[in-house]
């Protein structure tokens, strides 16, 4: 541990990574957020060791189905209408919800980065076409687009090549990624447009570097801050979208695979007098999304100092 601000007189070099870490650390809530996220992830990954029942295990007490039990010592969050342990469904559901969130964010950032870099670097008609496609995708309300896309694997067999089986977590990832990449593409294009004018890019070009080399060695590393920030914030947006799609009945199939989204969807019929069914997965979503947003905000501050901290 070094003591901040106590380096007077020394000219110790600080790497950009360490500088970013220093700025990140200033956001105490973000540091708390990282810890809480690590705990939530660990709990979901280690679900078999933390739960007594499986997520789809039908619990019987004295031969009778134990439906809608109140929270207590045996069932920490009670049981639901299918006689499953709510605590177990929340932990196992978190595996899918977190994985969907992270994978969706990575895929949509990848699509957005590729399109943004190509549009910004090559310019001209390539830029025109790619940005018009971006506008096009932005013109349709994204939840509506997601609902329509989610039905593609159910009605078109060729769509299953990309989407996998209908109502699978893979199809939900593909659906959300396809409606999420546009903002990333726009941001990255903007960054590339300004990088293009920089001397080091000109130098690379003068030295005879190919387009691919400039993109991979110079442009993408210099966009990495923006990519990391956008990916992080996409994770929380993807988790919220997954839950919204599940609420509307277009998400992951809840009969076989619990997710926070479809748990919430099923809970709505039992809110009164069983609010535990809603609060379990509901708090899981809210706390996770809140922590990711804190972290994303601190990352913005740490990796993109040009922007006003907010």
């Amino acid at each position: 541990m070094t003591i901040e601000g106590e380096v007077s007189g020394s000219t110790e070099a600080i790497s950009p990574g360490r500088l970013a870490w220093r700025r990140f650390r200033r956001h105490r809530l973000a540091v708390v957020g990282v810890v809480v996220l690590a705990l939530i992830t660990a709990a979901c990954v280690l679900a078999p060791f933390l739960t007594r029942y499986g997520p789809n295990e039908l619990i019987r007490i004295d031969g009778a189905k134990a439906t809608l039990r109140s929270p207590g010592a045996r069932f920490w969050l009670g049981t639901n209408e299918r006689a499953n342990d709510v605590w177990a469904t929340v932990l196992y559901g978190g595996r899918i919800s977190l994985a969907v969130g992270v994978v969706t964010a990575l895929v949509s950032s990848l699509i957005g980065t590729v399109i943004g870099v190509i549009a910004g670097w090559f310019g001209g008609w390539i830029d025109g076409v790619l940005m018009r496609i971006t506008d096009l995708f932005l013109a349709v309300p994204f939840l509506v687009a997601a609902i329509i896309l989610s039905q593609a694997p159910a009605t078109q067999s060729w769509a299953r090549v990309v989407f996998g089986p209908p109502n699978s977590s893979r199809s939900v990832v593909a659906v959300i990624a396809l409606v999420f990449w546009m903002p990333v593409a726009r941001v990255i294009r903007g960054v590339v447009l300004s990088l293009k004018e920089k001397e080091f890019v000109e130098a690379a070009r003068a030295a005879g570097a190919s387009d691919t080399r400039i993109i991979v060695r110079h442009l993408i590393p210099n966009c990495s801050g923006q990519i990391v920030i956008n990916t992080t914030l996409s994770v929380s947006a993807a988790i919220l979208t997954e839950s919204a799609l599940s609420y509307l009945g277009y998400g992951v199939n809840g009969v076989t695979t619990p997710t926070w989204g479809n748990l919430l969807n099923r809970a709505q019929g039992y809110i009164e007098p069983h609010p535990n069914l809603l609060l379990g997965p509901g708090l899981a979503v809210i706390v996770t999304v809140l922590c990711i947003n804190f972290v994303g905000d601190a990352l913005r501050d740490a990796l993109d100092p040009a922007q006003v901290a907010s």
Binding site: V140, I147, A154, I271, E272, V285, I286
Partner: protein, 325 residues
């Protein structure tokens, strides 16, 4: 300016056409009216007849061209489910969504902008920290979790607490109570309350953060220093100089935002059974009623594109630093 407007229109029309074509094809590929008809107990033969009469067995591109031509002539077609004209139901949904959007926009913009200004002026005060913290919470609440909690709160919890026989606010059944006759403003307002609250919680968070960032940027600018150096009172510096400039990006953002609201609030409207554009889409998509959905798509994209252009024009007009030719 005229050339600028013309250029934006030249951008808007292709986006409208291509966007609606794309959605048209996607809708046709993912809806199976015959399966839905069996579920709804509509005679599949009737559907087959409609398809022929409406030319829905023709090639997709030809159908699309015909449908766009009819749309702009004011003929919005016939629904599969109701077997009546699409327009009356669509008009109701559009009006309901516009009412909800406008009322909510007034509420959340006023509150959001005010919060943003105060937290920027008093940066790092307890008020600022509280606003920032609460807006993070607002952004992290899934609308339907919050909506469902609102329903329980105004219903059961309120009734248990006060012993009232009626819930504090109506939360199902949409836009007005079935027994009302004519137009009852108070009744409408009570039905609007919960959707407006659910929408506002998120949007206040968005706007207050946006406004705060904008204010901090202008408060740190050189012309603000000049204004202060001239000896202007602080109130005048903040409102005449900082606030008005910080508002410019918010206005453009708001224009785009309100255009998107014409597409309805899919989740919020579903929770409260509010018959707006979002619920219209979900219901008709569930019934695979694509003749009812195609005009919906056209209207929604029309709004989005129009308000995008409006936002650009507003931006160019409000900010003298931007000169367009």
């Amino acid at each position: 300016m005229l050339r600028f407007v013309a250029r934006r229109l030249a951008w808007g029309i292709p986006v409208l056409l291509a966007g609606s074509l794309l959605t048209f094809v996607a809708l046709r590929m993912t809806t199976q009216p015959v399966t839905a008809a069996r579920r709804l107990r509509i005679d599949p033969a009737a559907i087959a007849r409609y398809r022929r009469e409406l030319g829905l067995d023709r090639p997709l591109l030809e159908q699309y061209a015909g449908y766009v031509a009819r749309f702009f002539r004011g003929d919005l077609g016939t629904s599969f489910t109701t077997q009546g004209p699409v327009w009356p139901e669509l008009r109701t949904a559009l009006v309901n969504s516009i009412v909800l959007a406008l009322v909510a926009a007034v509420v959340y913009m006023a509150i959001g902008i005010a919060l943003g200004v105060v937290s920027a002026v008093r940066q790092y005060s307890w008020f600022d920290h509280a606003t920032t913290g609460l807006s993070f919470v607002g952004l992290s609440l899934p609308p339907f979790v919050f909506g469902l909690l609102c329903i329980v709160a105004v219903g059961t919890w309120y009734q248990n607490l006060t012993g009232a026989s009626q819930p504090l606010l109506p939360f199902v059944g949409g836009v007005y109570s079935p027994q009302t006759q004519g137009f009852d403003l108070a009744d409408r307002a009570r039905h609007l309350a919960l959707p407006v609250i659910v929408l506002s919680v998120q949007q206040i968070a968005v706007y207050s953060r946006y406004m705060r960032t904008g204010m901090l940027e202008t408060l740190g600018s050189d012309y603000l220093r000049t204004a202060r150096a001239k000896g202007l009172p602080e109130r005048r510096v903040i409102f005449r100089h900082a606030f008005r400039n910080a508002l410019i990006p918010v206005v453009t953002f708001a224009a785009i935002d309100i255009g998107a609201l014409a597409g309805g609030l899919v989740v919020t409207e579903q929770i409260f059974g509010y018959q707006g554009m979002g619920k219209y889409f979900v219901d008709n998509y569930h019934n695979a009623d694509y003749p009812a959905l195609l005009p919906w798509v056209m209207i929604v994209i029309l709004f989005v594109v129009a308000f995008n252009i409006l936002a650009d024009i507003a931006y160019a007009w409000l900010d003298p630093r931007i000169r367009v030719g």
